[in-house]
């Protein structure tokens, strides 16, 4: 089984004025291709911080983060942008769609930065939206969509460039439980198609769907066993 992501002795601390605030301590973690892992832990335990490091939105204070065979902790900004665009698909709790763009344009956006032609973008984006049941909502702006629909647009956007890893930080956190279930079903389907997914959740029931639960407490991994 190929390791797609490996974290070695990763630490992250923030500096608040003169104060050093450690958030993550010596994290070691390996994620295999095709794995569906849940990350759980109390609020403030560093789950989002961990996701941001994996997603190349932030850099660790120490340690290595290998995506494939590249150590992203030492890559220049330009390369990090490229990895964010091509290898990572990020789904956020608050959707983070661009409100003045239609669903279709939102899904096209990651492809724009990879120089994919307009025609190809539209083709791919409408396929994805169709697959997620939004074929008739493509030209709607986020404000005209329900929460569940917005999150599906965000998932389509995350899939636009066929990423190697799908990162989801509490994707159901802003949804009612029924809609949350629907979104969870989408992730299950994606997992069944062979995608690698890392998902932060507070919901034990949802986490039970995953291959593995990684428990974080006070910036340390308490338990990352398969089960």
């Amino acid at each position: 089984m190929r390791t797609i992501l490996a974290m070695e002795e990763v630490s992250k601390s923030y500096t608040l004025g003169k104060l050093n605030v450690p958030v993550l301590h010596n994290i070691n973690l390996a994620i295999n291709e095709g794995e569906f892992a849940a990350i759980m832990g109390p609020s403030g335990s560093g789950k989002s911080t961990l996701m941001n490091l994996i997603g190349c939105l932030d850099r660790p204070t120490a340690g290595k983060i290998m995506i494939g065979d590249m150590d992203t902790s030492i890559l220049p900004d330009m390369e990090l942008s490229r990895i964010r665009g091509k290898k990572i698909g990020f789904v956020f709790q608050t959707f983070n769609l661009i409100s003045r763009l239609t669903a279709l344009k939102n899904v096209e956006l990651p492809m724009v930065y990879q120089d994919i032609s307009g025609a190809q973008r539209v083709k791919r984006a409408s396929e994805l939206l169709g697959m997620l049941g939004l074929g008739d909502r493509m030209n709607h702006k986020p404000a005209e969509l329900s929460g569940g629909q917005r999150q599906r647009v965000a998932i389509a956007r995350a899939l636009a460039n066929e990423p190697e890893i799908l990162l989801a930080d509490e994707p159901t956190g802003n949804l009612d439980s029924k809609t949350g279930q629907e979104i969870m079903q989408i992730f299950n389907n994606l997992h069944n198609e062979g995608r690698t997914i890392l998902m932060v959740t507070h919901d034990q029931a949802l986490a039970q769907n995953c291959d593995r639960i990684i428990r974080l407490k006070d910036g340390r991994i308490e338990d990352g066993k398969y089960g």
Partner: protein, 403 residues
């Protein structure tokens, strides 16, 4: 990111807040209007003056007796030089000189039927005035043998007397303090000249005759010339030639006063002043533009602040610093282009309106419009650099956290 896509992103953000976008670029629009109007006024001034002096030949050196009696701030009296045939010869043999035409002017009275008018009459050497002989409208030019012929300007022919004058008619010209006049035959009428020269009065009011005829009229055997027109071979060498003319004359008139005058140097001086005036006016516009540019910086900063979250999203889905920078630079550049176009159109309109209502000479030229547009685009683009860099440098995590 492809340029078309960058344009699309910018146009999407434009169309979502048209009104604010327009308001934000008002400073630039006003600056561009100011530049175009100022340059047009300056250009108009230059053209107007150019027209007033434009008919002047630039290859002429005029020499006349007398001059400023001040030298290095001290009053030095010198007897005015008296020019005669020797001077004409000397000048004709000066390097760079094409033709030399001595002239003598005199105030007279002209009688036609019962009307009497003051006129000025200029005696010329008929063979040395190609420019005059080429501008005959009716009849012929003078011949050296003529003793009682005149050639008259178009205003003398058509406006001075109740009845228009034609070749073949006779008028009587007399020395003002002399009772007895002399009959002259009009042999030719000059073409109407477009301009009235700044110096030497209305050139359509001139009467030309031969030196011998004027001497007869004045009842003298000889006189000195009141001016000598020297036409140079090469207008570009006129400064050198004028120096040589001066040298030739100095030999003959050691301690006498005379003036060597070039229309060209006067025109060049005026031209320089006008160019300065024009750019000074343009500068006022440029200042307005700088103020407008500061406004753009403000607005772009506001745009960046408003779109922090959006920039975070763009970065999260793969936009590089350069992509973000390009989008914002393009946005401000495009803002400049649109404001510039609005500015030059309005500026041209205002210029034309001012010139029509105020009958001020204003010339809207393509150059002025291009300068206005260019400055508008450059100012907004430069004003966009700082906000664009700020946007590009945003930390993605913090940007995403923004509300």
């Amino acid at each position: 990111m492809r340029l078309v896509d960058a344009f699309e992103q910018v146009s999407l953000s434009f169309s979502s807040n048209k009104f604010k976008t327009l308001m934000s670029s008002l400073g630039i629009i006003i600056g561009v209007i100011a530049i175009v109007v100022m340059l047009s006024v300056g250009e108009g001034l230059q053209e107007g003056v150019g027209k007033a002096f434009g008919g002047m030949s630039l290859d002429v050196i005029t020499v006349f007796p007398g001059g400023s009696n001040f030298e290095a701030g001290k009053f030095v009296y010198q007897k005015p030089a008296e020019f005669d045939e020797k001077d004409v010869h000397a000048l004709e043999n000066t390097v760079g000189v094409k033709t030399v035409s001595p002239r003598t002017g005199s105030g007279m009275s002209a009688m036609f039927r019962d009307e009497e008018r003051s006129v000025s009459i200029t005696a010329v050497t008929a063979t040395k005035e190609p420019e005059l002989s080429d501008s005959i409208d009716k009849g012929r030019f003078l011949m050296e043998s003529d003793r009682s012929s005149i050639v008259i300007g178009s205003d003398i022919a058509n406006k001075m007397f109740k009845m228009p004058l034609n070749p073949g008619m006779r008028i009587s010209i007399k020395n003002k303090n002399n009772d007895m006049g002399k009959e002259f035959t009009i042999v030719g009428i000059l073409k109407e000249k477009e301009m009235t020269s700044a110096f030497g009065g209305n050139s359509n009011m001139e009467i030309f005759t031969t030196h011998q005829a004027l001497k007869d009229l004045l009842d003298v055997r000889n006189y000195s010339y009141s001016q000598i027109l020297v036409i140079v071979e090469d207008q570009n060498q006129i400064e050198t030639t004028s120096q040589k003319v001066d040298d030739s004359l100095r030999r003959l008139h050691k301690d006498e006063a005379y003036t060597v005058f070039m229309m060209k140097s006067i025109l060049e001086g005026i031209g320089q002043v006008l160019t300065m005036v024009k750019y000074a006016l343009g500068g006022i516009g440029a200042i307005a533009l700088i103020v407008g540019g500061i406004g753009i910086v403000n607005v772009m900063m506001l745009t960046v602040t408003e779109r922090v979250k959006e920039i975070g999203v763009m970065k999260a889905v793969g936009a590089t610093k350069e992509n973000i920078q390009m989008i914002f630079m393009l946005e401000s550049g495009l803002l400049g282009l649109v404001s510039g176009l609005i500015g030059i159109t309005t500026g041209a309109g205002i210029s034309i309106l001012i010139s029509t209502l105020g009958s001020i000479p204003i010339a809207v030229t393509w150059t002025s419009l291009a300068i206005g547009l260019l400055f508008g685009v450059i100012t907004t683009t430069v004003a966009g650099v700082y906000p664009a860099n700020k946007a590009a440098r945003l930390d993605p995590v913090e940007a995403l956290r923004a509300e």
